[in-house]
Amino acid sequence: MDLSQSQMAWFNLDKLNNFIGIFLFTALIAWFIFHARHRSLFIRKIAGLSAIDEAVGRATEMGRPVLYVPGLQDVDNIQTLAALSILGHVAEKTAEYETPLLCPCCRSVVMSTAQEVVRESYIRVGKADDFVRDNIRYLSDDQFGYVAGVDGLMIREKPAAIFFMGPFYAESLILAETGHSTGAIQIAGTAEASQLPFFVAACDYTLIGEELYAASACLSRDPVQVGSLKGQDAGKAIILGAILLSCLLITLSQIFGWSGLEETIRAVFRT
């Protein structure tokens, strides 16, 4: 065999299991979206999202602003996009109630996207004149420089409602505890598992992991979005079943010495 003539493969067979998994998951979501168009699907209420109205209402009654922190990453992070999606709904409420909305950003691309999202929300509820572009401002790309800026805003402006949505890291507790010390009602949401305990301890409501991504569907109740959420739940149920079945089969293979079966299961679920 002439190795100099060897060519790169068209398809990476090592990733076949990933490809099949993604294909099946996509098909499942597409199927549920199709069905959601024809019949209504039930989704449970998420306490943190139901509390958005309450939080903005409280800020209005107290005559204080609402602070929205969209995380520390750029728009290439899906959590940031989910956060911007929720920002649109929060901005609609603040526009309706004529309450100032402050949104300090850690990335300039996020800032310009957030400005557009908030502006559209204000236009949607007929309050375009109330939109203040400078309230959605850039602070710093540096992690702790940004934290210092946001903490300063909390102390000076005393917002009555604070939202932490998106990707957060070591600064999560510094932000949430400063917010707590100002007496604001706090709603957080992140998919960073290591930061969730801090938000749970310091905030009134926390969207845990997937709830952040589900927020858009829950808030809009758009059948297509709800369908995709149901597809996601079905995918989770299938994975749960696969984990249980694999545990059972691997246990049996250990007991009866079926080494071939164990290798097959490991090959199917390799990353």
Binding site: A9, R137, Y138, A170, A191, E210, Y213
Partner: protein
């Protein structure tokens, strides 16, 4: 068109990134590889976006100083810091011994470390609230946290071996095998699994243009 064009660009970029993950020959059809090429483009856009951020920073802070708004002194400090560091870097260079390096080492780094150090106090205050044994769940959390904390310090390890009823139980096995690798890992994995599926689902919705609220509406 204002909506369609970004959705079209997102779809093309996203599908390309997915395809190149599975098709290595397509990935290397361009130099640099297709994935790297897209990431390079993002970096270029990112660099231009800095100008937007800088402009926002200057406009917001300068207008507050001009209006003598409450706390305008903070805005002045920010602008002086911004332009002072910029000038130090542009005119004095950024090498060892330069003013820029001095500002970085003796102003910026200690201030960042100070902010980070606040975390220790905030952990204490948050833990004090979270560990109040008001309910059954909170009590369980308190007991588990106490055991893990005892296991992390040498004094705790030394005391553990003298406790009358727990002598036979290894503290490391209790913490590592039981609490951390058992309950803690199971809970974390459930959250990570849910979040990962949510991420795939959200990515698909964005790629297919179903989720477009991040563009400012439907």
């Amino acid at each position: 068109m204002k909506r369609q064009l970004p959705i079209f660009i997102t779809f093309i970029a996203g599908i390309t990134m997915i395809i190149q993950f599975f098709l290595p020959r397509l990935e290397h059809a361009t130099v640099p590889p297709l994935g790297d090429l897209f990431l390079n483009w993002f970096l270029i856009i990112f660099a231009f976006a800095y100008i937007l951020g800088g402009a926002s920073l200057v406009v917001v802070n300068f207008s507050k100083i001009a209006k003598s708004a409450p706390g305008w002194g903070y805005n002045a400090v920010l602008l002086v810091g911004l332009f002072g560091t910029l000038a130090a870097g542009l005119f004095g260079g950024i090498n060892e011994g330069s003013l820029f390096r001095y500002i970085f080492n003796y102003v910026f780094t200690p201030l960042s470390a100070t902010m980070f150090a606040l975390l220790a106090f905030f952990i204490a205050s948050a833990a004090f609230r979270a560990f109040k044994a008001k309910t059954m769940e909170a009590t369980l959390l308190l007991i588990a946290a106490l055991i893990v904390m005892i296991g992390q310090v040498p004094l705790g390890q030394a005391l553990w071996s003298h406790l009358p009823f727990l002598k036979g139980i290894s503290l490391n096995i209790l913490i590592d095998d039981w609490i951390m690798n058992g309950f803690n890992a199971a809970g974390q994995r459930a959250i990570i699994l849910g979040a990962s599926l949510g991420l795939i689902s959200m990515s698909l919705k964005i790629l297919l243009g179903i989720e477009r609220s991040y563009l400012g509406g439907d």
